[in-house]
């Protein structure tokens, strides 16, 4: 066992990167669920975003355009879910699961010509002054821009949900869609917008994998990240800041356990492998006082 081979600065720095794809997908799903819609298609939207982002980034040579395309791709796929569940009143659980399967297949189809191609580089930004601070600089201020966009999205979501009138309406729709409807709010419109926001965020999370984290396109590359994002939303009690904690905890313990393995720590590998899931669940359950939005997963129709 040689713990000195673990560099804590690098460890904490890679924690932020490891958590970002899940964080992005989860914050989108949080907004969707706060609007009362349960979209289990996160995995499908992520992988579609991953392939759209990768394809556009390689075609245009710009990772930024790739991320824009990923957000649009994820949102377009989620719109399919939105139309099915909001207008055609299909079951949200079944539609979401179908969306995941559809997304996996669609992405494999789109990705046919992109296997084995390299993505354009997406350089880290070195934040002036702050990035030069010893220890904290390399940990927090020397990442690629998407890490900060993820953080900004969490802050923005918190601000929107709790400090704005729009957020209040969205939460009202999620808590009791009949009451919100009676007050004259456009339940379906609000929900469609939330669903598209969720799709765009999931697409960004997927593109983060294919453009930064891995970075290349392989079929099925999200490998369950979307499901983890879904779980974190629930365990975080539908609260943005806890969601941030949950995602960082999950990313952090994932990186930590690999580091411990490589350093040869005498803990059975099985325990280390399950530790990210255990640690995240335990911490968030202990903290949790969260309550699901009242209308979560229920079908709304104005005539009922």
């Amino acid at each position: 066992m040689d713990l000195s081979s673990i560099n804590p600065i690098l460890l904490l720095a890679s924690l932020m990167v490891a958590a970002t794809p899940i964080l992005l997908a989860a914050i989108g799903e949080l907004v969707v669920e706060r609007a009362g819609v349960l979209n289990l298609g996160v995995e499908g939207m992520m992988i579609t975003g991953a392939v759209c982002g990768f394809a556009f980034a390689t075609i245009t040579g710009s990772p930024w355009l790739g991320f824009v395309a990923a957000a649009l791709g994820g949102a377009a796929l989620s719109l399919l879910f939105g139309v099915l569940t909001q207008y055609l009143l299909t079951n949200q659980v079944a539609t979401g699961l179908a969306l995941t399967l559809f997304g996996l297949g669609l992405s494999a189809l789109i990705g046919q010509g992109y296997i084995g191609i390299k993505a354009p580089a997406f350089p880290d930004i070195h934040v002036p002054l702050l990035g030069d601070i010893p220890v904290i600089g390399p940990i927090i201020f020397q990442h690629d821009p998407m890490v900060y966009i993820g953080l900004a999205l969490v802050a923005g979501t918190y601000w929107f949900l709790h400090k704005t009138r729009g957020g209040l309406i969205l939460r009202a729709v999620g808590e009791n869609h009949d009451a919100a409807h009676a007050l004259g709010y456009k339940v379906i419109k609000v929900r469609l917008l939330a669903i598209m926001f969720g799709g765009a965020c999931a697409g960004l999370g997927g593109a983060y994998l294919s453009l930064v984290r891995v970075p290349q396109w392989t079929e099925g590359m999200t490998a369950g990240a979307g499901w983890i994002a879904l779980a974190i939303v629930v365990f975080a009690g539908w609260k943005p800041w806890r969601l941030l904690l949950g995602a960082y905890l999950f990313g952090g313990v994932t990186v930590l356990q690999l580091n411990l393995q490589a350093a040869g720590v005498a803990v059975p590998v099985e325990y280390l492998s399950m530790s990210p899931y255990l640690a995240t669940i335990v911490v968030l359950v202990i903290m949790s006082s969260g309550r699901a939005p009242g209308s979560l997963g229920r079908i709304f129709h104005a005539s009922r």
């Binding site: 891995v214 392989t218 099925g220 059975p268």
Partner: protein
């Protein structure tokens, strides 16, 4: 009378139909494939699918192939196999270690369907097992890795603690140690065959901890990309050539070539000569290929690696030749003795590290 005629002709038609169906089915031999990853993984499953296409190319209209990709190792696999058998498959290849028990279970229910299970060890009357001696390729990798490393730390991304993977670690370590006594292996168990993000993570962690050679037993090309980003890290293609990452970081590779075996077994089913067998071929038989050793490797290392490859191929050298001790120091093979395939402490059931490797094999 009329009614009786109708009945009789009905019975005759039904009899014809039931007799006719198997006759029709026999025109085409249906071959099913169960894959653990997507066909586009660029590694393990990709090569199995290449071999499936080779079967189609070889027999043309005489065969029909079907495949299901990304099948989890567990009860779901059983469902997929059962469905294939019900759909009239004559021969089913199940291409991952974790399909072993599901294959045996389903095979018991369909005695007329032939099954071929990759990398396992449980046989039945209608279940053959086949595998490749990847550890021979690992020996060549270790030989190159030991000489390419400057930090003397070789990172190894392992998948699951099964004999197949442990053999690879031992073989690579043995041959790295032979050319570089100071070499040290850092092993990370990813507990997945295919998860690009996790594989990239594992590769980055190993590189951060000083490894400048990465060996992988997982199927995606993500570790190659991570090594490329790091700049000065050597990798090897796994299962597939992964040539797009050559000549550096990817300096060589182990290539699985299943096509000759799949064609031979399909032929055997068509001829009715199929019997349950256990096949374990290596470099010599062409089931394991060593990808082009790139020019990033010094010429003398390349020459000695090719000599090692050839001696493994013609059988003049065995990758596990004594004297060798187990990790705990107890003797495994006496001087000059080579490891046996089956039996106690054999290659097929290898569950221990060799002397010098640090850490424990997970249970």
């Amino acid at each position: 009378m009329k009614r009786r005629n109708l009945l009789a002709s009905g019975v005759a038609a039904a009899a014809l139909a039931t007799m006719g169906l198997p006759a029709l089915a026999q025109d085409k031999t249906k071959v099913g494939f169960v894959y653990v990853g997507p066909v586009g993984d660029g590694g393990w499953t990709y090569e199995h699918d290449q071999a499936r296409q080779a079967v189609e190319a070889e027999f043309g209209d005489a065969v029909e192939t079907v495949f299901v990709e990304s099948v989890p190792e567990g009860p779901d696999a059983e469902r997929v196999m059962t469905q294939m058998a019900l759909d009239g498959a004559d021969l089913i290849f199940t291409t991952s270690f974790g399909y072993m028990d599901p294959t045996i279970n389903v095979a018991a229910k369909f005695p007329d369907v032939k099954f071929e299970h990759a990398t396992g060890y449980k046989q039945a009357d209608n279940v053959s097992v086949y595998s490749a001696r990847f550890y021979e390729g690992r020996a060549v990798q270790g030989h190159i890795a030991g000489q390419m490393t400057e930090s003397n730390i070789v990172g190894y991304i392992a998948s699951f603690p099964i004999p197949e993977v442990i053999r690879g670690i031992n073989s690579a370590y043995l041959h790295a140690k032979a050319v570089n006594p100071d070499v040290e292996f850092k092993i990370v168990w990813a507990y997945t065959w295919f998860d690009p993000a996790k594989e990239a993570e594992a590769a980055s962690v190993l590189i951060e901890q000083g490894a400048d050679v990465i060996l992988q037993h997982t199927d995606s090309t993500a570790p190659q990309a991570a090594a490329q980003a790091a700049g000065n890290v050597v990798t090897f293609g796994q299962a597939s050539d992964m040539a797009e990452f050559g000549p550096f970081p990817r300096v060589s590779s182990i290539i699985d070539d299943w096509a000759p075996y799949y064609i031979a077994r399909t032929q055997a089913v068509m001829d009715g000569t199929w019997t349950s067998t256990s096949t374990w071929d290596g470099i010599g038989a062409g089931m394991v290929g060593i990808g082009e050793i790139s020019n990033a490797v010094p010429a003398d290392v390349k020459a000695s690696a090719e000599a090692l490859r050839d001696s493994l191929a013609d059988g003049s050298y065995h990758a596990f030749t004594g004297p060798l001790n187990k990790q705990d120091g107890s003797a495994w093979l006496a001087a000059g003795e080579t490891a046996s395939d089956y039996g106690d402490d054999s290659l097929a059931g290898m569950n221990f590290y060799l002397e010098g490797i640090e850490g424990d094999v997970p249970n």
